[in-house]
């Protein structure tokens, strides 16, 4: 649960806090309320933790984070599985 997973913003909400992000090829809604005050747009990368975007990152960092996560095996698989079952919208 402590993992931060990178996702690419694919759709910004017209209103409210839920943006659609692409995480490892799957699209999910995440809450972007904690990035209030930071400009966020489609194509930006964010670090996602328990359904919330915690910080903006660049693409290079996103790739590095993904490499790290894929390398750690079970914990990452569990996290992605939990994320896939999540439906916060």
């Amino acid at each position: 649960m402590c993992l931060g997973i990178p996702g690419e913003v694919v759709e910004m909400p017209a209103e409210g806090d839920l943006a659609r992000v692409d995480v490892a090829g799957v699209r999910r809604l995440v809450n972007i309320g904690l990035l209030e005050g930071q400009p966020l747009t489609t194509g930006d990368w964010v670090l996602i933790h328990v359904g919330f975007a915690l910080s903006k990152i660049d693409e290079e960092e996103a790739r590095a984070a993904m490499d790290f996560l894929e390398g750690i095996g079970q914990a990452y698989d569990d996290e992605i599985k939990a994320l896939m079952e999540s439906n916060i919208g």
Binding site: C2, G33, L34, H49, S55, E60, I72, G73
Partner: protein, 380 residues
């Protein structure tokens, strides 16, 4: 020694390790604590200790939120789950954590409605969809996770969802580091600061470690090279006679943290006078509780809790492991009575726990772990 998993920058790692070795003074030993369970993961997974010179030892700290939850709080949560019309929701990591009366999984098997969620917002959705049930979210985690719980409470309040509450077990990292600095058990030369916690709190809260305790701290990223580079930064500080807070993970961690995240924590939660940590005992002002203004979202106010303190099983040495005094394989029950499938202690439950990390990703092949453990213990 063999590495279980060669990583792509192994050559660069060797070069960094050589620089670290060059900074070692003869006859001096250096012990650094990696505070965060994520770092422990990387270190064991990539066998980073094998890259480091013998004079440098990494010990793990208390930065695994599941591991530090005392057994009594697990029992309290189960007591809530056993109330009529309650749905208890929890991150998956918590499900196997043993309390005095068994784990969430045991309680679920016995009929309690306990559901795994990925996000507190999933728990809120369950509340929205089940207006005749009382939905409680088992809130755990350091400052990384507390803002998400706080945001969820704010959202529940905004939507007027009144059948949702949180059982707040959020803890704060700074008092735990203070407790370790004050502990006579361990002499540390510096810290690898946690990565994701620092995205929220920033680097400034660590300044007392350098200023008052004369120990350097470097906030570190999670890649193998991040860890080695951070160790090098610590070694350079020591060689230059400095003790500063430095940020190796600046590409993700802003020096001042995430102000909005801190605001929402402060809006919904306040410090508890004290909280029990597994292995570390009671630490003052080390955890968060729900503020009076949000009392109707506070499971501790809604439900009557047993609140009984439960001592850890005698065989379990998670406390020593969490303080970095023992390495996982030095625990009497590691890999024998205590495994990820049948954990006795929390450090073996969470994937971020030092014992689980060592068991799953350590240098040792899983099938050989028992044999090698015995050898290692015999040698030490």
């Amino acid at each position: 020694m063999r590495y279980v998993d060669e990583f792509r920058d192994a050559d660069t790692a060797q070069a960094v390790a050589a620089q670290i070795a060059a900074l070692c003074e003869p006859d001096r030993h250096y012990t650094f604590m990696e505070v965060c369970g994520g770092h422990t993961h990387t270190i064991y997974k990539h066998g980073l200790e094998d890259y480091l010179p013998e004079a440098v030892t990494l010990v793990h700290g208390p930065g695994c939120p599941v591991c530090v939850i005392p057994m009594g709080r697990v029992d309290d949560a189960i007591a809530i789950a056993e109330q009529p019309d309650v749905i208890l929701t929890s991150f998956g990591d918590m499900l196997r954590v043993p309390g005095g009366r068994g784990s969430f999984l045991d309680a679920k098997a016995a009929g309690a409605d306990i559901r795994m969620v990925y996000s507190p917002l999933d728990a809120l959705k369950i509340a929205r969809n089940n207006p005749d049930k009382r939905v409680v979210f088992m809130a755990i985690g350091f400052e990384t996770t507390a803002p998400s719980t706080a945001m969820t409470v704010l959202r529940a309040a905004a939507e007027g969802i009144d059948n949702f509450s949180i059982f707040c077990n959020h803890v704060t990292i700074i008092p735990a580091i203070k407790a370790i600095l004050d502990s006579p058990d361990l002499r540390l030369d510096g810290f690898l600061g946690p990565g994701h916690v620092s995205t929220v709190i920033g680097c400034r809260p660590y300044e007392f470690i350098a200023r008052d305790h004369g120990k350097p701290l470097v906030t570190a990223g999670f890649e193998p090279l991040d860890i080695l580079a951070s160790v090098l930064m610590l070694m350079r500080q020591i060689a230059e006679g400095r003790a500063d807070v430095e940020n190796q993970y600046a590409r993700v961690v802003p020096w001042h943290g995430n102000r909005r995240a801190l605001e929402v924590i402060g809006e919904v939660m306040e410090l508890r006078p004290y909280f029990e940590w597994r292995g570390l005992g009671f630490i003052s002002q080390s955890a968060l509780q729900v503020r009076e203004a949000y009392a109707s979202y506070d499971a501790e106010r809604i439900f009557e809790l047993p609140g009984v303190r439960v001592a850890d099983p005698k065989a379990c040495q998670c406390g020593e492991v969490l303080k970095g005094v023992l390495k996982p394989w030095e625990c009497k029950v590691f890999g024998t009575a205590c495994t990820p499938e049948t954990p006795i202690g929390t450090c073996m439950v969470s994937s971020e726990g030092a014992c689980a990390a060592y068991y799953n990703f350590g240098r040792f092949n899983r099938s050989h772990v028992r044999e090698i453990t015995l050898t290692e213990v015999g040698r030490s």
